[in-house]
């Protein structure tokens, strides 16, 4: 496990490079297949509306998978992630067009912990709305 960022090089407030992740209907179909989550709210507009959603929504776990990439891309080694948790606060609505939706993720070091680990707090939004809350990861640095 060898992160490429050194513990001594970061401080509380250090910002991680922000990223944006596009998500279209095709992305959701592919994620459904890879994850085994075939809930029709993620691919069937008629079904989604029948259960009271505005449209098809992204899998919460898809959004969670994208958000941690800001940490794993920064750390270099995805195996350096020690803890990762989120609250699903709002769904990412994915319209049936070429653009789909965009998930915007930023992160910063919120605390330096023991054993060369730091806590990174993530901000995860789509269309200006926070879609994940309490989104935090603990990662072990070099």
């Amino acid at each position: 496990m060898t992160a490429k960022i050194s513990y001594s090089d970061v401080e509380v407030g250090t910002e991680l490079p922000a990223q944006t992740f596009p998500v279209t209907r095709a992305t959701l179909v592919r994620y459904a297949g890879a994850s085994g989550d075939f809930n029709p709210i993620h691919w069937n507009e008629k079904f989604a509306r029948e259960v009271g959603l505005p449209d098809v929504i992204a899998h919460g776990m898809f959004t969670m998978a994208e958000a941690i990439r800001v940490v794993t891309d920064w750390a270099g080694d995805p195996g350096a992630v020690v803890e990762y948790g989120v609250r699903f606060t709002k769904p990412v609505v994915v319209p049936n067009d070429e653009q789909g939706a965009v998930i915007e993720v930023g992160g910063k070091v919120a605390a330096k912990l023991d054993d060369n680990t730091v806590r990174v707090d993530l901000t995860v939004t789509s269309a200006g709305q926070k879609v994940l809350g309490m989104s935090r990861a603990v990662v072990r640095l070099a």
């Binding site: 592919r30 890879a34 995805p78 195996g79």
Partner: protein, 150 residues
Amino acid sequence: MALDQSFVGRTYPPTEPYEVGREKIREFAEAVGDTNPAYTDAEAAKALGHPDVIAPPTFVFSITFKAAGQVVHDPQLGLDYSRVVHGDQKFAYRRPVRAGDRLTVTSTIEAIKSLAGNDILDIRGEVHDEAGEHVVTAWTKLVARAAEEA
């Protein structure tokens, strides 16, 4: 109707082993658009100190959530799964999941709460490898929304 509190602390039998395959990891990494070579290139993973390709951090959810099905679909518990949404998710990793792992999951009901007619269920999944070593713990909070008044 609120769920029976006596289910708190109940542990279900470990699942049959799930064998993690390289191609399944690749498929998952491609589905989330993640090109980190540690997911697809064994040499790149070894350069980071791993014995084989590793899985993205959230990959293991597919395995723990399937295991949580024992709880969710326990007829004695009586959760209305058609009204369930995913509230929170957390993982604590001892080491990353990697190709070749044969993983079993032991699910425990950690808490049951009732809030404004919603049933809130906290399930902990302990994931172990074939040698019996702990790999990751997954905490899943499910919320069964209250049924509308007829």
